[in-house]
Symmetry: C2
DNA sequence: TAAGGTTATGAAAACGATTAAGTAAAAGGT
DNA sequence: ACCTTTTACTTAATCGTTTTCATAACCTTA
């Protein structure tokens, strides 16, 4: 592997000169600089990242902590889209990304924070379901620059998908179509769920609708089977809802199947709506009404803010950013006015 | 950041002794070793990865090169599952993974190979659609340890999903249900496509069925719209197929919608089958008949072979590994015997 | 008891870069 | 012609490890 020493020897200059020339520091004569650069290319020189990192204490490496209840890992639609966008933005700024491995798996059992320190990551993006995990908290309380996604932690930048507006827009639309008996099958406890559920209650209250206890059901995210079962229960009610709102599109699909199996028509007999606008949502029959979170903007903003925090810690405000989405009017909500 | 020097000072020994003690080298007295280890813990010592990498020339970092035609990035079902499994296995062996960024995006425009060298990655897993890309070829021809997924390159270990058996099992099943007029809408050119198409031809030949030209259609992977259009064409034929086989489940969904829109029933009027068994395949109506590739085994094996190649280059055979999958009998193929 | 063998530890070089400080030569100013 | 400044470089220290070789102390054994 050719190093600066080799270039220095070839050009008969010192290593320091080579370093400065390759880093475009002003201190070097034009001709020498050119000569050094061309021999570097000719010899096939590539800077040694480890050496540079050792000296500068900067790795240009960002950690990604992702863990989610159901263990779907990278196959999670919402997150994998956010991650893809985060990765692209980070790479544009010269940062690579590395996963913070789940300590439970790892042999020598490093914690997230230890892993971060070991690799000397410049910062970490955190997107987890379980913010009560002690290891996650340790990381959030550390000195490491962090941005969180869909979670607020004191003193940390956070990027939030606007679940309040999202839920509001969905409900407004459903309401505008004449629905008053709207059930909501929510997901596991989390900030996202809290925001959505409280918005549901507030919306109902603001529109003078009494929420019946059975209409707010606790389900699981991305579990079509569970959603199907709850849908069954809802349909069995003496006064079933006219519209069921699901925690996400996967759940909606589970519900839709149960509805279809019962010989009910959508949306004539019952309306449904999801959340996320996953790829096949547009291919469902009927086309699903849902809310598309702006995963690209979320990932992009997370990367931008994290990089800014790393490179200009003093001028980077520690705040919460909210990213709106877009209502997708499918054909799964009937107009019953 | 506490370093070995600090521990050495605290224990009144030399840095060399600390290094040996922490790495469990035999050369150290039991009591000193214990003392060093406990002070290391007490002071909150974490080894500096960059320094170690600089000295040992090992980063315990694996590159992942992934690029796919449609630009779906991490949101690609098949790949994200393989990657998840690869990542878990790699982490178990003490390796982290880093994405090889797409050079087109990167500002300073490093090639894949340059990126690999810059980060001094110990090895790379390659999963791309376009194996004609000059940068990909350069990487494959380099000195870097590599495993490829679903592609054969001279002198490289490759992990292949068994598309031949997969296609055969699907076709056998469809055939066993009485179908003879089987159309196949394949994906873009690639080794995977080649394997599947040739298997299709061979199967037909072996069963004495003449393949009609219109029955082999060229589509795109994961493009439900395109698949829908081609489905339309097939249905317009004077003698339409009794079963349409799609390149993947996404495409199948596109086709199913067109079929439904035409008022045809599945599988009574026409049968369909997909490939991949994506998460919602089981939720479709009718439940999709498809073939599930063993993404977990593929990712796991890729990581194992790559690590083995890195750690024991001499005893690691350079061969091709084939990973079988499983036929998923849904309800989308009718028995027409 | 001297020669040889263990065992535990230390000194120092090396990995490949960055960077502060120093220096010689050329250029500029009066 | 002399002093100052600028330019273009070099020297040398440093980052935190690993590793080879040296060394001192102690233990065998003939």
């Amino acid at each position: 592997m050719v190093s600066m020493k080799d270039i220095a020897a070839a050009c008969e200059v010192s290593v320091a000169t080579v370093s400065k020339a390759l880093n475009n520091q002003g201190d070097i004569g034009e001709d020498t600089k050119e000569k050094i650069k061309s021999t570097a290319k000719r010899l096939g020189y590539h800077p040694n990242f480890s050496a540079r990192a050792l000296k500068t204490n900067r790795t240009y490496n960002l950690g990604v902590l992702y863990k989610e209840g159901s263990g779907s890992g990278l196959t999670h639609d919402y997150f994998s889209q956010v991650l893809e966008s985060f990765k692209n933005t980070a790479e544009n700024s010269g940062y690579d990304i590395t996963f913070l491995s789940n300590s439970k798996i790892r042999k020598d059992s490093m914690s997230y924070l230890e892993h971060t320190i070991y690799r000397r990551m410049d910062g970490v993006m955190v997107a987890v379901a379980d913010y009560k995990d002690a290891e996650v908290i340790a990381l959030l309380q550390s000195e490491v620059p962090v941005v969180t996604i869909d979670y607020l932690f004191n003193g940390r930048i956070s990027i939030m998908s606007d679940n309040i507006t999202g839920m509001q827009e969905l409900l407004s639309y459903i309401y505008s179509q004449g629905h008053r008996e709207i059930a909501y099958i929510c997901g596991e406890e989390s900030l996202v769920t809290t925001n959505r559920v409280s918005t549901y209650y507030r919306f109902m209250e603001e529109h003078g609708i009494r929420v019946r206890g059975e209409f707010l059901q606790k389900g699981k995210y991305r579990d079509s089977h569970a959603a199907g079962q709850i849908t069954s229960k809802l349909l069995d009610l003496e006064q079933p809802p006219t519209c069921i709102l699901y925690a996400d599109d996967f759940s909606a699909i589970g519900g839709m199947n149960v509805i279809r199996d019962r010989g009910l028509r959508m949306p004539e007999d019952i309306s449904v709506a999801g959340y996320d606008n996953i790829l096949i949502a547009s291919q469902l029959e009927p086309r699903l009404t849902t809310y598309q979170q702006d995963t690209v903007a979320i990932g992009c903003m997370a990367a931008e803010k994290l990089v800014s925090l790393i490179e200009n810690p003093m001028v980077t405000p520690i705040t919460q950013y909210t990213v709106g989405g877009e209502l997708v009017r499918g054909r799964s909500v009937a107009c019953i006015k």
